[in-house]
Amino acid sequence: MNLWDFPVYLLQHKLQSGEISSVEIVRAFRERISQVEGKVKAFITLDEEGALREAARVDQEGGYTGLAGIPYGLKDLICTRGMKTTCASRMLEDFIPVYDAFVVAKLRETRALLMGKTNLDEFAMGSSTEQSAFFPTRNPWALDRVPGGSSGGSAAAVSAREVPFCLGTDTGGSIRQPAAYCGVVGLKPTYGRVSRRGVVPYASSLDQVGVLAQNVRDCALVFSIIAGHDPGDTTCVNVPVPDFVSALDEGVKGIKIAYPREYFALGVDEEIKAAVMKSLKKLEELGAIVEEVSLPHSEYALPAYYLLAPAEASANLARFDGVRYGYRDLEADNVIDMFAQTRGTAFGAEVKRRIMLGTYALSSGYYDAYYLKALKVRRLISSDFDKVFASYDLIVTPTTPTPPFIIGAHVEDPITLYMNDILTVPVNMAGLPAMSIPCGLTRGLPLGMQIIAKPFAESLIMQAAYAFEQNTEYHSMKPELEV
């Protein structure tokens, strides 16, 4: 086994026992990146040399606590002081932030080592990473397929063993769907659990920062570092952060798990249904109580999302006007034309589409019919979950309706592409925590199972996911990238 194959918790053990140094770890991942990055294209920016310098410092200081000496990647819409943060957009192609996002500051504090910034759909708007203004990322399991999105670069980087973990963001499934497509674990925390300060916003009432890693234990370790209150983000809730790692061993005995029948319809592939049903059987064998329930408004989550998210995006992206940072059109002779031409030139097609849709849904005469209607439907979706969680601890569903698709397959058909998020979007609408974990393979492509809990019950998700992982082999499967 190569050093780059080791998960975070084993790298930690090796550092703590003095068996290896952080510099050796970074060198190993640098070698791995040089072997596979040309094929996978997970990174927009790489800084192995910077990571190596930091590693030398960590080795000198010693005391490998927390994530000290462990390399990682960051979705490139999370601000990094002194390192380009492009959002995979021409608009921010050369933008270097002057401050760190809260989560980056947390990772610096624990002395984790930033290896680089990973690819995404422009401003996180997409489900395939094909909407990156720079290049598409490829799925390490099948290089002609998408890695999912929008955190596709992050999922692919972990899957290809280029870094042991990454942070991503999830607005409608952008961590869980690529995690499922790339055969890794992806956690989207409760809305308000992790600070969004310094994370370029897409839809502020839905966005949340989370973790992509090889396994559940690694996820818990990283999540422990980034979770918690930040007075600089008024939507970040001041609630206690439990010890996620020690809770892992508590098992699933007596835990009540519901599976909603609607999530096994909605155009879900037979192989995926079968894999998740088999996984539910496994959880039952391990002592969980498994029952079928109904979330009757599920099919309305996606159309409501495609009004609310663009509406919020149209307001959030108003900041990109060419004045304070980013691209500026220099031809225009008055300020309004400068704004419009800057935005018309530097935003990609999908970003423009969502700004237009959102502006329309918020415009005079259409606000009630579209935006307000979607907010009411959001209430119905949230109430569906409340009713089930009154009697159950967890909800288990497939993460995606299909396995990863061929690059270019849905480029001309946004609605088919949007359908990919049909099983993940309702969770964001209700602000709930959820995780995708690998639960099988079909035709050599990974499949994901989604575990959803009540607000702030991430511990319970990880406890169940860990019990499943300990009793199955899916998490140890990895792509065979020829080098």
């Binding site: 007075p231 309305y300 935005r343 097609a349 849709l357 907010l375 009411k376 439907v377 119905l380 602000g431």
Partner: protein, 94 residues
């Protein structure tokens, strides 16, 4: 089509977005198909449903009313060259 080219031009104006003629045509088709799709929401009777505006039971969040050092002005302005005397420079406004 739910939308016509005039409406697309109006919305593009509101959004401060210059669109090329072919982009406008594409926008008419794509936005119309999305609006047809979201029309599905009208299957639901929501007359008595309260809109969900905040997912968290959090109201106004205030900090203590005392001054704290903010971020350095020069540093914040270092992301553009289009500036003069501590002000951002833009083309004429009037």
């Amino acid at each position: 089509m739910v939308l016509n080219i005039k409406e697309v031009e109006h919305v593009a104006g509101l959004a401060r977005l210059t669109l090329k003629p072919e982009e406008k045509k594409e926008m008419v088709a794509r936005l119309s198909s999305i609006l047809n799709y979201v029309d599905k929401l009208n299957e639901l009777d929501t007359d008595k449903v309260e809109p969900l505006t905040h997912i968290l039971p959090v109201n106004n969040v205030f900090r203590e009313d005392k001054t704290e050092p903010g971020m350095d002005r020069e540093l914040l302005m270092s992301s553009t060259d289009m500036k003069e005397d501590g002000q951002y420079k833009v083309p004429k406004i009037m």
